[in-house]
Amino acid sequence: MLLRSLIAAVVFGGWCLTAGPGAAMAAEDPAAPAGEIDFEEGYEPNGEVVWDPIEPVNRGIFWFNDKLYFYALKPVARGYRAAVPEAGREAVQNVFTNLGAPVRIVNSALQGKVIGTLDELAIFLANSIFGLGGIFDLHKESRKPSPEDFGQTLGHYGIPPGPYLVLPFVGPRNLRDGVGMAADSLVEPLPSPYYLKVHQAEVIAAVTGEQINALSLDKDTYEAVVRESLDPYLTVRDAYMQNRAAKVAK
């Protein structure tokens, strides 16, 4: 049963990735050599529109996530922020960042980024051993700001982003990065069945806790976007796709 749905997903995914404007975009070569800036790129008058074939559905889920944020996550984050001092919340953030290291290491290696892989590996070991399981991030000052994930790995090998999706709870994705996220979850210590034997409820609590912690440290961005945009859905969609494209290119 699982195998059949997996095959169906792969076939469907393959169709999505080869159909649509995504395929044409992936075939383009960048006009400027690496390191140079092409000042015209991206500013063409008839620039590409994000491929969003299920926009009404996406908008619905975007609306749902928005309500979820304002009525559920935000109040909890506010209480959390009031109860726990910033240093404590940063320590929690550090632990989650450290737990995310295996994903970054594997994906960095898959993309052939030798220095990045070794950096992440060294930081992970140092923080786990000397940083007391990741509570202290000993390399915060020198950390390179581009963590790798499987979506970026797929992009690195030329797979176009595919249709835009808004997932419940998680938020904006494209199909390639959604698949990437599923693949990464096999490597991540928390939800993975291969590392820690934890119960389902504990996993959900941990992942939700991570979101709440992240929210408590950065409450302004999403609310500012909603307040200032003419159409927050479009703003988030475009910002997400630009950000992913930039990450893949790095």
């Binding site: 700001p145 609310e223 703003t235 910002a239 630009q242």
Partner: protein, 205 residues
């Protein structure tokens, strides 16, 4: 003696010729000038509230090239618009940007700015900066165009996300679905909302 005079005059003439070239500034210098001026005002505890905003706003506006920015933001819709519509858009767009971003600048709390590389190609340039805020470093890049002797900003990239492209995709969709006049109407409404602080939370749907 005469050789001295000739040498002296030659030196004076070459200095005079060199001066106009020295007057032209680099993009990094120009953006640094504006940012430094703004930071000085923000760090002055004497200047507060509306007075602060009134001092900062003209400084920032003077460094932006809203016409180029508007052209890129509208893309193909720029050519389709009448000159009157174009002027109206430029006016509304610059007001909207001011309400959005100058308001954010007000929330200043001891951020510092580091200047990185600048890349210049003909009359275009990109200057990389990092804003250090609390415990995060936010990369902010400025795309600039040279007009005369000075450089002006026509796009801001925050964490690699281009403002112009972001506005273009939103506004392009709105024009496609509802038309240009409707876009101008929504911009006017949004400016009013931001000015009176009546933006409601949870209005994404």
């Amino acid at each position: 003696m005469r050789r001295f005079m000739t040498a002296g005059i030659t030196l004076l003439i070459s200095l005079a010729l060199a001066l106009p070239a020295a007057a032209a500034s680099t993009p990094k210098e120009d953006i640094r000038k504006t940012v430094d001026q703004v930071l000085t005002i923000l760090r002055d505890p004497q200047i507060k509230g509306q007075a602060r905003r009134e001092k900062i706003s003209p400084l920032i506006r003077a460094r932006f090239d809203f016409t180029t920015m508007s052209q890129y933001t509208l893309g193909k819709n720029w050519k389709a618009a009448t000159p009157q519509e174009q002027q109206e858009f430029i006016r509304l767009f610059s007001d909207l940007l001011e309400e959005t971003y100058v308001g954010r600048v007000e929330a200043y709390s001891n951020e510092t700015v580091k200047y990185g590389d600048e890349k210049i190609e003909a009359d275009r340039a990109e200057v990389k900066t990092q804003v250090h805020s609390g415990n995060v470093d936010i990369p902010i890049d400025y795309r600039m165009v040279r007009k005369g002797d000075e450089w002006f900003v026509y796009d801001v990239l925050i964490e690699e996300v281009s403002l112009v492209k972001n506005f273009r995709s939103s506004y392009g969709e709105i024009i496609r679905k509802d038309g240009f006049a409707k876009l101008l109407e929504r911009m006017t409404e949004k400016i009013k909302e931001l000015r009176s602080g009546t933006g409601k939370p949870g209005t994404a749907g």
